[in-house]
């Protein structure tokens, strides 16, 4: 109907009217319409409130030193900021080279062992622990080194810094019992049966709508149990948080396959996913401190 079409055009013009960008004739027409239309008045108020919220929260501070770095580079002065694009390949090589240097120099010392693996290490590295760590901890590099972007550093070891390692212990062979116990522990970790595998989904059907809107990452068993029991009366799925963690996506997002990359964990997913408000599909990912990257399909 003509009236509906006209009203639609009034609604469409509200945003432009708010910005003072309407042509004078359209503005006059809308201003004649507004006193008689509570719907349009309410919508205009809501648009103004949205505008206020954006003005209040949209601007982020620039990274510290951005302007200084730009000016320094613009004037051709050497920059202390090593992340410039043209330096990235060289930095990546340098980072890897330094990493290997500090790792492998132990081979030429008296066999000082590196810190043993802990659960904060990347998942893939821990799974390979058995093959790569017998009695020589420096056999292979364990650290995931980002190529010029992000360097994963284990406690007590910083790439590029002078590292004073503990003095080598008196030379004695690692006890056979200790060695095999370590191997058995690693094997047990690897073969430990958990109810869920990496990349698997856990379907959470809540007894009420699941209102949580942000992404939640759960790395702890007691937190996981409390989270699950706050929504569901079903038995809490058993997760081994030594090697796994759980991602709870926001509403409208369905998480897909998981990729373990050198310097991040990539998760694929779909937005605009229509699910009922009581259901959410949670994703099992490897326990890690690597950044998570989400790719929307």
């Amino acid at each position: 109907m003509k009236e509906d079409r006209d009203h639609l055009s009034y609604e469409e013009n509200l945003s432009t009217y708010l910005d003072g960008e309407l042509e004078s004739s359209e503005r006059a027409e809308l201003e004649r319409h507004l006193p008689d239309c509570p719907g349009c008045r309410e919508k205009l108020i809501a648009l103004r409130e949205t505008s206020v919220l954006l003005k209040r929260h949209m601007m982020k501070p620039a990274p510290p030193g951005l302007a200084t770095r730009v000016l320094a580079r613009g004037e051709g002065k050497p920059s202390h900021f090593l992340r410039s694009l043209s330096w990235k390949p060289a930095l990546g090589v340098l980072t890897v080279a330094l990493g290997f240097f500090f790792l492998y120099r132990n081979r030429f010392s008296k066999g000082t062992p590196l810190p043993s693996a802990d659960v904060s290490m990347p998942y893939a590295a821990r799974l390979q622990e058995k093959e790569t760590r017998e009695d020589d901890f420096s056999a292979k590099p364990k650290r995931m080194i980002g190529m010029g972007q992000r360097t994963q550093t284990l406690p007590g070891f910083a790439l590029g810094e002078k590292q004073s390692l503990p003095a080598a212990p008196p030379s004695e062979p690692v006890a056979q019992e200790e060695q095999s116990a370590r191997a058995r522990g690693i094997e047990a970790l690897r073969e430990k049966k958990t109810e869920y595998k990496i990349g698997e989904d856990i379907r959470l059907v809540g007894k009420m709508p699941i209102t949580q809107e942000s992404v939640v990452l759960i790395k702890d068993k007691s937190v996981w149990e409390r989270f699950w029991m706050s929504y569901s009366d079903e038995p809490v799925p058993q997760i081994d948080f030594k090697i796994h963690m759980v991602i709870v996506p926001p509403a409208g997002i369905l998480l897909g396959n998981v990729e373990m990359l050198q310097n991040k964990i990539r998760i694929h997913g779909w937005s605009k996913y229509k699910a009922d408000a009581n259901t959410r599909y949670l994703k099992i990912v490897p326990a890690s401190n690597l950044p998570l990257e989400y790719l929307n399909k």
């Binding site: 469409e12 945003s15 432009t16 910005d19 960008e21 809501a46 648009l47 949205t50 505008s51 919220l53 954006l54 003005k55 209040r56 929260h57 949209m58 601007m59 982020k60 501070p61 620039a62 990274p63 951005l66 302007a67 770095r69 730009v70 000016l71 580079r73 613009g74 992340r83 410039s84 694009l85 972007q149 209102t211 949580q212 809107e213 942000s214 992404v215 939640v216 990452l217 759960i218 790395k219 702890d220 007691s222 937190v223 409390r226 989270f227 706050s230 991602i247 709870v248 926001p250 409208g252 694929h268 997913g269 937005s271 950044p291 998570l292 990257e293 989400y294 790719l295 929307n296 399909k297």
Partner: protein, 178 residues
Amino acid sequence: MMEPEEIVRKYSQMVYNLALRLLGNPRDAEDLAQDALLRALKALPSFRGESEPGTWIYRITVNLWKNRVRSEKRRGLWKMFSLNHGDDEMEEKILQIPDGEPLPEKQIEQAGERRAVESALAELAPEDRAILLLREMDECSYSDIARILQVPEGTVKSRLSRAREALREKLEAYRGVI
């Protein structure tokens, strides 16, 4: 004509925010912002003042972003959703719940306006976020925004209207927070 230092100090925050809203993550945004500002400095001698300096720099930023997107598409990378992050964005988007803390739901319900706005923005297309930023934060005219994004003015008008409407609807979903 503005001096280089004046240009960089005046526009670096806005250029960074434009890059952030286009790319969705702070690390890439910082790279893009730095590139854009450097390119602007290099081209400054040939800038004849046909537009406001800001409009000109923002257009450089958008063009560099478009080049990056084209390059990523060629390399088969998918569109990056804003959950792809460096540190501070990660802390906003992904909550790590230490033991003993309140239940996640209560924490999220207490998140506040800023999280609601960020979550709602994250669901918009990069260009829509850029249009909102340019209009709301820099009060660019529709014609300037059209010049920056190299689209017709009518497109700016309709995209801005739709983006605000979409944002309004999404923010209503967070009514308990706002």
